[in-house]
């Protein structure tokens, strides 16, 4: 039950103090791949050193002035100084320059003297006072960090030395001005390595980055290193310390919830506008609370894809919770994190924060190892693409991102570029992994005479298994069926000679040889498309409001796509298939007032039509037994509630929660049963259903018994109370009679003798309407 925020503090502080230890895998060039022999520690050094020096040379003595006592500023100075200094270290010189005069100005103002008395002994060390500033304190430099060492240079005699120098100069002056060079010689021949000095350390870093691995000819491939690195590696101890064994942390059975006897599912609920988060067992009668915490998350929560972890969001980073008591399992410090994504295998976590990125240390997107909690790699985020920016292959072996004209595929666990290079695909618009195999689908739009193209590529071989050319394309959307059996490319086209947009559904049958493609054309506006998760049907919502229709298609084995059924006049804008297929909920969310239609697609019957007024979300439980519709406070401010329905559309519960925000079902890992076993169960379903029905009856009668029992006791209490009140009432009868002049008014007709007959006439207007005219 630890508060995530409290726990996160020490780690964050620690990380700031020793950045090198925490992030050993930081690589400066994000898109370069991790080739080359250089160790990770070495690269860090390249990234930092030059900046520090530049800083020092331009602003000597800055850090001293920022110290509080000398500036005579009292408490405000250290913060201003710290801010300025840290900004400066990040390379932002402008703001640092601004901050400095401000500090001085304040110091000059007429203020009471804050100077220390003469006998004052300072008992606070500077390290304690401004450790974070001192960390960036300028260090002495002697200029050797502008020097690089180049190995594998051809060994030549004096006759060819001049020529070699020319060649070297030509290659290396690309990165900056070479101020000095040295070619060590032995027995009249160069030794095969040389030293070059640049005008600035930045040039040296640049040279190392770009010229390392340069192929001069077949025999000579340059190895370029910073001279200072030699120093560093010389000081490394030869003795290897056995790393301390980490004590094994027993987190208990993280999948305990799957062992529940009733096979109930769990879900998380955020309510009170995000202040409280609860986990419930879903139960037909009433949800059973498992855990409720205040301020568990600062924004929202996410379940991992197999349901093992619950991720909560905090200003400082992400915390993962799990196990029976929802203890904290792991935390990832990423300031200002906004979005996360799990790898499908639950091994890696991708986090995004807009705050942390710096030029030489990519931190906008970080990939973490969930088991160890270590950062695997950081990335820049240049373009504002849709989240997730990195898309994972189904097994978590690869992940890919798209940038301008480039598709970069990385592999785990090295986090390096697959085959060390990205794919150049000019004009690539979108890509998507198959959920059933390591196949990537991407499309490029038309470019003058070259048609638009959808390509399926096998990985890691990069073999193109299918290319489909398309004409007059406006837009494409890639929709994979959940098993990866089919891919539907929804193509919006403007065919020549026609007005308006026509939509083609290009259905790729992935499991067949050569991947045959069939097309369904639709002239109406497409509102939504969705595949049946475990099947070969798909549903399309089309038309213009209020004339919206839903069509169900079936992809047959021979490739024929058959329209099974079309329902018109639907009030729907979203399709929600049951995770098990067959059943589907068509929902008219938000502007369509929350109309719901429950459809069984096996025989295409509408099982129920219902409404959850103003519903904003529909969530199927992972087993496909229940559906939850909800009105989230995030989209609508009143009537925030979630309703539980059966898959047939029978309303089971209305759960009103104050300022309810979000309900998420806990996902289940894929079943361990084989196809045969599932078939067998389906065959024996009658046997099981008998058992279940009996169980249901038992629990139902128990429930109604409980209810009746409760009502009985309430009624008993109430009767007692009423008897007491009636006795009191009877006691007062005489008083009442007295007050009303002896007239008994206890019953409506108790003073019937006093009644006066009164005849009241009412006006009745008569109007004759001939019936014939009505039609």
């Amino acid at each position: 039950m630890q508060d995530a925020e409290n726990v996160a503090v020490p780690e964050a502080a620690e990380e700031r103090a020793e950045p090198g230890q925490q992030q050993p895998a930081a690589e400066p060039p994000p898109d370069e791949g991790c080739c080359g022999p250089r160790g990770p520690a070495l690269r860090r050094r390249q990234g930092q050193r030059p900046l520090v020096r530049r800083w020092r040379s331009r602003r000597p003595g800055r850090s001293r002035r920022a110290r509080p006592r000398e500036s005579g500023l009292g408490t405000s100075a250290p913060t201003a100084g710290a801010q300025a200094a840290s900004e400066d270290a990040g390379g932002n010189e402008g703001s640092a320059a601004e901050a400095e005069p401000r500090a001085l100005e304040n110091g000059d103002a007429d203020e009471p003297s804050f100077s220390d008395p003469e006998d004052f002994v300072d008992d606070v060390s500077e390290e304690e006072l401004l450790g974070d500033v001192l960390k960036d304190r300028p260090q002495e430099a002697d200029g050797i960090d502008s020097v690089i060492v180049v190995d594998n240079v051809p060994q030549v005699g004096p006759d060819r030395l001049e020529k070699l120098k020319n060649v070297i100069h030509k290659i290396f002056s690309k990165f900056g001005k070479i101020t000095n060079d040295f070619y060590p010689e032995e027995d009249g021949k160069t030794k095969g390595y040389i030293f070059l000095e640049y005008a600035s350390p930045a040039h040296a870093v640049d040279a190392v980055k770009n010229a390392d691995g340069y192929k001069l000819d077949k025999q000579h491939t340059f190895r370029v290193n910073l001279f200072t690195d030699f120093d560093k590696y010389m000081t490394i101890s030869d003795e290897w310390d056995i790393p301390e064994k980490q004590p094994f942390k027993d987190l208990g059975n993280l999948r305990y919830w799957l062992e529940e006897a009733e096979c109930r599912d769990q879900y998380s609920v955020i309510f009170e506008s995000g202040d409280r988060t609860s986990i419930f067992w879903n139960d037909v009668k009433d949800p059973v609370s498992i855990e409720e915490r205040a301020r568990w998350t600062e924004t929202y929560v996410r379940w991992s894809p197999k349901g093992t972890y619950l991720a909560t969001f905090h200003q400082r980073g992400i915390a993962l919770w799990g196990g029976e008591k929802f203890k904290q399992i792991q935390r990832f410090s990423h300031q200002g994190v906004q979005l996360i994504d799990f790898s499908p295998c639950e091994r890696y976590l991708v986090t995004f924060s807009p705050l942390m990125d710096t030029q030489d240390d990519p931190q906008a997107i970080i990939i973490w190892d969930i088991l160890t909690g270590h950062k695997k790699r950081g990335f820049h985020c240049e373009s504002s693409a849709h989240w997730p920016i990195f898309k994972w292959s189904h097994d978590g072996k690869f992940f890919a991102r798209m940038t301008l004209d480039t598709l970069s595929i990385y592999e785990t666990p090295s986090m390096g570029l697959l085959d060390k290079k990205s794919l150049k695909i000019s004009g690539i618009k979108d890509f998507s992994w198959s959920p059933g195999g390591n196949i990537i689908a991407f499309w490029v739009p038309e470019d003058k005479d070259i048609p638009a193209r959808v390509t399926l590529m096998q990985l890691p071989t990069r073999q193109e298994i299918r290319v489909r050319n398309l004409f007059n394309v406006v837009d494409c959307k890639l929709h994979w069926q959940k098993n990866g059996d089919y891919l539907c490319v929804k193509v919006d086209r403007t065919p020549k000679g026609t007005q308006g947009v026509v939509t083609n559904f290009e259905i790729f049958r992935m499991r067949e040889k050569q991947v045959p493609v069939d097309v369904v054309e639709m002239k109406e506006t497409i509102i939504a498309f969705a595949w049946e998760p475990n099947g070969s049907k798909f549903a399309v919502l089309h038309g213009e409001a209020p004339r919206i229709s839903v069509s169900f298609y079936h992809v047959k084995n021979n490739g024929k796509i058959e329209l099974i059924k079309m329902f018109d006049k639907q009030q729907a804008n979203t399709i929600f298939w049951s995770p098990q297929g067959q059943f589907v909920v068509l929902a008219g969310l938000r502007s369509m007032n929350g109309a719901l239609a429950f459809v069984d697609t096996s025989d295409c019957t509408v099982m129920n039509i219902a409404e959850h007024y103003m519903a904003s979300d529909v969530e199927w439980d992972p087993t496909g037994r229940y559906v939850v519709t909800s009105v989230s406070w995030w989209s609508h401010k009143v009537d925030n509630a979630y309703w539980l329905w059966t898959f047939q559309g029978r309303l089971l519960q209305k759960n009103n929660k104050d300022r309810f925000c979000q309900l998420l079902w806990r996902p289940r890992p894929p079943t361990l049963l084989s196809q045969e076993q599932i078939k067998q169960i389906k065959k024996d379903l009658k046997k099981y259903s008998k058992i279940f029905e009996q169980k249901d009856r038992l629990s139902q009668s128990k429930a109604s018994k409980e209810l009746v029992e409760r009502r009985r006791t309430m009624m008993e209490d109430f009767r007692k109370y009423r008897k007491m009140a009636q006795e009191l009432y009877m006691e007062q009868k005489n008083e009442r009679l007295e007050l009303r002049g002896g007239v008994d008014t206890d019953e409506l007709d108790s003073n019937v003798d006093d009644w006066e007959e009164e005849t009241i006439e009412f006006f009745v207007t008569e109007e004759i309407i001939p019936l014939g005219n009505q039609e």
Partner: protein
């Protein structure tokens, strides 16, 4: 059950009340008219004209001789029920919020708002002493210093009054049932909308609540979302068993007919609706 719609007010209804026998229904609204209707068919029997401001409250005595109304025109008026003649005009310093006859019909009580620099007072007049009315001098006046009275009723035998205050603990979102002699909290009926009025059935263990989305928010919400429904709860189980739709504004006042066979509701929409229950209502029973 098709309701009888009473259209006699131009502004929102503030209070409705049956007389003891239930043959008449008195309605007051934020217009100056006081209406009286036959509850059996909704025909208007007459009006009591004289007020010049919104009328907040109405009451009739036990034998329906007199009618008492309190208004925002700073007056409380006593009428002859049958002729509609104004019998007394009691001037006050601020709006009259609530009024009532005692059990015997001899003593009247009304409370005034804390308004325009005047205190909130509860005044008592004895109708048997005409001089009190002539001089506009109540025989008793209770000042109420802290927060104003929004609602007041006589105790069972006129030995006390029970007042609800603006700062009262009464939860706006629920109706609570209190024992009238001991003031003990008995039951709570929960709704998701503010409750403005509640009434007990005289012969069934039922309570009806009227309310809905606050009037000031109504223009921004549709009727479906406002939930302007009369809601029926079981008195002992606190369970809801029925709703009656119809108003397109929040319900300000509900009242059961003394025979329990019908009830009426008056809403912010200016309509009064008399509903006669269907047979199913009387057959319905909770399993217990």
């Amino acid at each position: 059950m098709k309701p009888i719609l009473l259209q006699g007010h131009e502004r929102s209804i503030t209070q409705i009340k049956y007389n003891r026998e239930g043959d008449l229904l008195f309605t007051v609204a934020k217009d100056p008219i006081v209406n009286v209707w036959y509850s059996v068919n909704g025909e208007r029997l007459g009006t009591y004209m004289g007020h010049t401001g919104a009328v907040w409250c109405v009451d009739a005595d036990w034998d329906t001789k007199h009618v008492l109304t309190g208004s925002a025109d700073n007056s409380c008026r006593l009428w002859d029920c049958e002729t509609g003649k104004q019998l007394a005009l009691l001037k006050t310093n601020s709006a009259v919020r609530t009024c009532g006859f005692d059990f015997g019909g001899n003593i009247i009580m009304f409370s005034t708002d804390k308004q325009m620099g005047y205190q909130c007072f509860v005044s008592f007049f004895d109708l048997r002493d005409p001089s009190q009315i002539d001089n506009n001098e109540p025989y008793m006046k209770i000042p109420c210093n802290d927060s104003k009275i929004t609602s007041a009723v006589w105790g069972p035998l006129g030995e006390c009054i029970i007042a609800g205050h603006e700062s009262g603990e009464l939860n706006q979102y629920s109706a609570k049932l209190f024992d009238s002699t001991t003031l003990e909290h008995q039951k709570t009926f929960r709704t998701e909308r503010p409750v403005n009025s509640a009434a007990l059935s005289p012969n069934y263990d039922h309570v009806v609540l009227g309310g809905g989305q606050e009037a000031m928010d109504v223009t921004t919400t549709s009727t479906r979302i406002g939930k302007f429904e009369a809601r029926f709860f079981h008195l002992a189980f606190e369970e809801e068993f029925g709703r009656v739709k119809g108003h397109f504004g929040p319900i300000n006042s509900v009242a059961f007919h003394p025979d329990g066979k019908s009830y009426s509701s008056g809403g912010e929409d200016g309509y009064v609706r008399i509903h006669y229950f269907d047979p199913q209502y009387f057959e319905f029973e909770f399993e217990a």
